[in-house]
Amino acid sequence: MITIAELAFREVLSKKIFYIVLVLTVLFLVVYGIALHFTVTDISKWADPVGSRLTGSVMYSQLLSLALYFSTFIVALMTVFSAVGSVSGEIESGTIQAVITRPLKRWEYISGKLAGSALMMSVYAAALYLAVIGITRYITGYRPSDILPGMVLFLIIPLLLLALSLCGSSLMSTMANGITVFMLYIIGMVGGMVEQIGIGINNGALVNIGILSSLVMPTDAIYRKMVFGLLTGPDNPINTLTFNPFSSSSPPSDLMIIYTIIYVVAVILAAVVIFNRRDI
């Protein structure tokens, strides 16, 4: 299992796209930093100090939620693209034949793939998350609450997508799997937005659509939980009063986190069961 995980890890490092993604991520952070810088410069020119502090707090939290939303999106995209072909790609190319015919159980192969990719994506996601929070704090002085619990939630998102991509990869072709997982992710995302609008206009049907979609794909619910903890804690009471589609005014309960963990475990088990029976 460790051998497979190590190889999966090294494979990512051997690809040019990995370095391109790193450069583009830095570019994203730079653009975000510049946007924050000019916002701060603009707000600090205001004559009314109370008004400027209040507006600043709202603006920075909105910009931070925007950055976190797109960070989640980048991490999700990266996870799906890197994992959809992790098994099916090897089956399609035939490299798997000289691997699983060795003294290796099939579950070890799947767990190795999962462990290698999970480690890689977690390091990337954690770095991106801390960079976004750090840049915000450094430039604006804005302090979100619950940074570490937020990071744990932020890491659950790629882990969930990874498990789902791996499960699909042991069942479908790379292309079909990529489309399926990404569509599911989009369903979760749209459902989350619909739910926020539903809460905003007090429409039960929209809220129910959101809840249903988060049961199918809990990524957005986890994002909302994270962003609520970060932006709506005791330090940031204002945020609950403003509507922001990237933020959350009514977070999912802790039960949603338990549901998501069960979801991830079930998907991993399904991947193992499917792959155990699959003809290659």
Partner: protein, 303 residues
Amino acid sequence: MVIKIDRLTKWYGNKLGCQDICLSVLPGEVFGFLGHNGAGKSTLVKMLVGLIFPTSGQAEILGRPLGDTEVKKRVGFLPETFRFQDWLTGYQLLNFQASLYKMPGSTRRNRIEEVLKLVRLSGHEHYKIRTYSKGMQQRLGLAAALLPDPDLLILDEPTSAMDPLGRKEVRDIILKLKDDGKTIFLNSHLLSEVEVVCDHVALIKRGRIIASGSINELKEGNIEVEMKIGNFNKVVQQALKDTGIPVWWEKDRVLATVGDREQIPFLAETVIRNGGSLYQLNTLDNSLENLFLSLMQEGGEQN
């Protein structure tokens, strides 16, 4: 018994992969599994190495049922077209394969060097695999299969994608392994290869074994007859078919396999009586190729 297969059958949905395959391979034997492309050779090998699961029947390798992880440590397998992580160097690939075989670090380095030497890749191991020629890649695959010093080596079309020189190189390695007493299961559609290296062969057609035995046993009792026939029209062709003797032809060159010398004049008489002009009739050295063609044709008619 190194391999013991009992009525192994594989269906892919409603398409037959292979059916009721029974065979056994003894220690130290080089066993050739022969058939056209798509006959079901790879299906059998894939079941043996655990890539696909049989629909019915059973098999044992080194006394253990299929899929046994401990047995896999003693089996080397070279897939039909050996594909690998081509971003690795040859050495890195072998090192990865050695960890899959759970070889201890202390013996690993020496063993990698040994197999590299055996397949004549020493000096190339630190280049990326994507820079290797097809022949070198196949030999690297062979090196990977040989890493655990296996009791059984399963080779699926080891030379199919190679040029004649590459084929000879791989064939020489197989012969050397044979001399070293290795048991080898060789899947091939190349008769010349099987004829040179194998002790026993089984012929598969449309998923079923149609003949098996030692090469000498299979050749025994059959005489190849080559004829040049003028006016080789449909009447003559039908008459030859009606004799019941396996016959096939290319233009005016006709080949027949007779089980008995007495059938030779009978063949000549059939040609002449039906208006064919018999310019030439020779008996040939009985090569496996002719036998193969004859058995494949017979097998087809029986099916």
